[in-house]
Symmetry: C2
C-alpha cells in the first residue's frame, strides 16, 4: 500500500469510527484549518480535519492516526499567533471547536468544568450571573477557546493581578497519544498529590496530550471598576508612572502602556486624537471593593508626575481599555510585519523600549509597542514597506533577532504569553541550555513515544 492509499484508508477509518459529518477533506476547510495567525514559513495542508464532538472521537483519532503513523495537530479557534496550530506535512488537524459545552458551573466552589472548545468570553458570560469571572483574558477572548488558552498558557491584560492561564487551571482530562484518557490535578483550590502534571500540560501546545476537559478556578467579578487613561509626554514618563503606581502599592487589574505609534493606530481606527495629546499613555483599571480608593491613589501619583489624567467616571478611559482589551492586532503575521511578545524584568522595561527604538532605527524598520506594563510583557510590532521587497524582509528579520537577543540580555524571555509554536522555536536555544532542551525532549518521549502529537512545536 503506497502512502496515498494508506492516507485514504485512514480517512475512511476516521469516517467509519467518528462519522461522516465529523471528517472533512473539503479543500476550503483544509486551507482554513491549516494555520493560525502566526507567520507561515512552510505552509502545509492537512490530509483531513476531524471535528471531535466527544472524548471518544479524540481517542479514536489518536489511535487511528498512531496506527497509520500520521501526525495529529490539535486546534482550537486558531487565533494563536505563534504557529502552534500550523499544519505539518501529512497530518490530521484535530479541531476541538465542537466540544464547546460548559459541563459544570459550581458557583459555591468558584469552579467550572468546561470542554476545550468553549470560547473564553462565553465562559465569562455564563459565570457573570454568579458574580464570577474566568480571569485570564487574552486579547482574543471573544474568539479563542479555553483549550487553546490552556495549550498556550495564554496571558492577557488581567494577569499581573490575577495570574495567567496556568494559575486558573486546577485539573485536566487529557487523551494521551495512545488514546488513553487520564485525569490530572484536582477539583479543589489546593492540592499537592504527586507531580504537577497539570502545569506541565498547560502551555505544552498539544505536544504531550489532547485536553478534553478543563477544571478552572473562577474569581470574583468586581461590581465596581475604575478606569483611568493617563497621557504622558513620552514613554520614559509613562514608565515612571508604572513605577509610581507600584510605589503606592496598588496592583491594578489592568495596566497597559501604549506608545505614540500605537496611539496613532488607535486614532486611525477610532477617530480619536490621542496622538495629538502626548507621546505615550497608560490605561489603568482598578477593581474590587477598594477600586475607588485605589483609583484615587493612582490618579494623585500620576498627576504628581505631570500626566494628563482622566477624571473619575470619564467614559473615554473605559472605552479605550475595552478597545485595547479586544484588539486582535493587525491579523496574520506576514513577511513584512511581525508582532512580538518578549517579557523583561519590569525595571528593564523603559530601557528596553529605548533599545527597540535604536534597533529599529539602525535597521531602518518601523516599530510600535504596547506593553502589559504590570508584568513587563511587551508586544512590539515591527514592519517594513512591502515595496522594499526581500531587502526589507532581511532588515526586518535582523531587527527582530536583535530585539529578542536584547530582551534575553536584560534577563527576559523570548515569549511572555504567546507560546513558542513554530515561530519562536529557533530562539529557544538562545534562552535555554542544551540540558534543559534535552529534558523536555525526554518528557515529550514519555508522553508521546511515537512523536505523533503536534510535531515541531513548543520545544526544540
Amino acid at each position: 500500500m503506497n502512502l496515498e492509499t494508506a492516507d485514504s484508508a485512514l480517512i475512511d477509518d476516521l469516517i467509519l469510527h467518528i462519522g461522516e459529518e465529523a471528517v472533512t477533506t473539503d479543500p476550503k476547510m483544509l486551507l482554513s484549518h491549516s494555520h493560525d495567525f502566526g507567520k507561515i514559513v512552510d505552509h502545509q495542508l492537512p490530509l483531513a480535519v476531524v471535528f471531535a464532538e466527544r472524548v471518544e472521537d479524540v481517542q479514536a483519532t489518536l489511535r487511528l492516526a498512531a496506527a497509520a503513523g500520521v501526525k495529529v495537530v490539535p486546534r482550537g479557534a486558531g487565533t494563536g499567533v505563534s504557529g502552534g496550530a500550523h499544519a505539518t506535512a501529512r497530518c490530521i488537524v484535530l479541531s476541538l471547536e465542537r466540544m464547546d459545552r460548559i459541563l459544570e458551573v459550581r458557583p459555591e466552589d468558584e469552579v467550572a468544568v468546561v470542554q476545550p472548545g468553549v470560547i473564553n468570553a462565553v465562559l465569562n458570560r455564563s459565570v457573570a450571573k454568579y458574580g464570577l469571572m474566568y480571569a485570564p483574558d487574552p486579547a482574543s477572548y471573544q474568539q479563542s477557546t479555553i483549550g487553546g488558552n490552556v495549550a498556550t498558557n495564554a496571558g492577557g491584560l488581567r494577569c499581573a493581578k490575577y495570574g495567567v492561564t496556568t494559575d486558573s487551571v486546577l485539573g485536566l482530562d487529557v487523551v494521551l497519544a495512545d488514546g488513553t484518557l487520564i485525569s490530572t490535578g484536582r477539583n479543589t483550590f489546593k492540592g499537592v498529590a504527586g507531580y504537577d502534571l497539570t502545569s506541565l500540560l498547560v502551555g505544552s501546545e498539544g505536544t504531550l496530550g489532547i485536553v478534553v476537559s478543563v477544571t478552572v478556578r473562577l474569581r470574583y467579578l468586581s461590581e465596581k471598576t475604575c478606569s483611568i487613561a493617563a497621557v504622558f509626554t513620552d514613554v520614559a514618563q509613562a514608565a515612571a508612572g508604572v513605577v509610581a503606581i507600584a510605589r503606592v502599592r496598588v496592583q491594578p487589574a489592568i495596566l497597559e502602556l501604549i506608545d505614540l505609534g500605537t496611539m496613532r493606530v488607535l486614532d486611525a481606527a477610532y477617530g480619536s486624537d490621542l496622538g495629538a495629546r502626548g507621546g505615550a499613555m497608560l490605561l489603568i483599571r482598578t477593581d474590587g471593593h477598594g477600586a475607588e480608593i485605589e483609583a484615587g491613589i493612582v490618579r494623585s501619583a500620576l498627576e504628581g508626575l505631570g500626566a494628563q489624567v482622566s477624571a473619575p467616571g470619564d467614559e473615554e478611559a473605559v472605552r479605550l481599555i475595552e478597545m485595547r482589551r479586544a484588539s486582535r492586532g493587525d491579523g496574520q503575521d506576514d513577511k513584512y510585519r511581525v508582532g512580538e511578545d518578549v517579557a523583561v524584568p519590569r525595571s528593564a522595561m523603559v530601557d528596553y523600549m529605548g533599545t527597540l527604538d535604536r534597533i529599529a532605527e539602525r535597521n531602518r524598520v518601523m516599530v510600535r509597542v504596547v506593553a502589559h506594563a504590570g508584568d513587563g510583557n511587551l508586544h512590539p510590532t515591527f514592519w517594513v514597506d512591502p515595496d522594499d521587497g526581500d531587502e526589507g524582509v532581511a532588515r526586518l528579520d535582523m531587527a527582530l533577532e536583535e530585539s529578542i537577543r536584547a530582551a534575553l540580555a536584560v534577563g527576559g524571555t523570548i515569549t511572555g504569553e504567546h507560546g513558542v509554536g513554530t515561530a519562536k522555536r529557533d530562539w529557544l536555544a538562545w534562552e535555554q541550555s542544551e540540558e534543559v532542551l534535552e529534558l523536555q525532549r525526554k518528557i515529550k518521549a514519555v508522553f508521546d513515544p511515537q512523536g505523533i502529537l503536534n510535531p515541531g512545536k513548543a520545544i526544540l
Copy 2:
C-alpha cells in the same frame, strides 16, 4: 570491597571534596537529621549528613553518591509533616540549611533570588522594608526554608488570596541527579518558553533534583490590615459565615475556621475563654487599600448571621490570628496522634466536617479541626488515649483511612498542602489512576534514571 568499606570510602570522598566541617557522622547529628515531623514508621539513620554551602557541594555530593550507588535525601529545616525528609536505608542526608543567603532583592522588579536554606520569615523580614512580602506562609514560616517550601509546594494561610508556593516561584536553579546544574523558568512575571519544568519541580519533594536557588515573585505588603474574630454557635453556622463572605465577594487574605476542640486547645495554651463563648470561630484578615471597606462588609454579613463579631481595632482578633498563623500544631505525629491535610471543594466543607465527627464517633477516636476555609483545606487532628495501646492505634488508623476516603468521595484530595512524603504514599493510588502514577514514574526516570534522589517519596 564490602558495603561498609564502600560507605566509609564514600564518606572519605565527601570530606575530601566538600570539607571536613561539611560532613558529619556524629550519631546525635545523624539522629536529629534522620526525620522530619511526619509520622515515623521505618526509622533509618543516614550514613552521614552533608551540609552544603555552595552549589559545587551539592554537585559533588550527588556525583559521589551516584558513583557509590547511595541514595540522597535532601533536607531543609526538617519541619515537614509528611515524612518527605525521612532518611531511608543507607542514605546521605543532604542539608541545604547553610545555603541561607538572599542572593538578590530587586524591589522595582518585585523579585528576589534566594538560596534554598533561607528561612521564610527571614526573607519576609528583609523585603518588608521595600513594602513587599513573600506571600506563601506555611504555619512553619518562622522555621521552614524556602527550599523546603518549594519541595512540598507549601501552602499557608494567605493562599486563597495570594496562591501557594508554586504561584510565587518564577524560576529555579537545580542540580540534577548526575550533578548537572540547570536553570528553569525565568526572571520575569510571565514566560511560556518550553514546558513548565519549574512547576514540575515545585512539590516534587527532592525526587527530581536538588534546588539550589529560587527566584520568587514578591507581592505588596499591605500597610493596613483588618482582623476580625467571629464566634458562632457551631461549625455549620461558621461555614455559613464562609459562604456569606464569598457572597459579598470579599477575598480575605486570611480566612480560618476553628472548631470547638481547637478553641479549647487555644484556651489551654493562652488562657483565653474562647470555648465558653461559642462552638466555632472564623478568624479573618482583610488587606490592601480596601481592607477597611472589606472588613466592614464582612462584619455586616457575619452579624446578619447572628455571629459575635469583634469590633474594629479589637486587639484580640489580631492576637488570635497571629497565634493561629504561627501554630506548628502538636509537634511530631506519632502512633497515637496524627494531623491530616485533605482539601475538599469549598461547598463540601461543612458536610465533610460532619462526616469527620461521625467517623470519629464510630471509631471512638477524638478529632478537632482547623480549616483554611478560603480554599477548603482542612487540618483534622485525630488522636486516641495512649493507654488504649494497639487497639486504640487500630481505631485511629481506621478513622484516618475513612476520613481520606470520605474526602475523595466528595471530590477532594489526600493532601492540600503538606505533600505526600512517605505518610500519604499508599493513598496516592486511591486518588490517581495507574496511568497517572506510571507517567510520574517515567518522569522520575527521566530526571533520575539511577533512582538515587529521595527514594520512596512523593510518588508511588
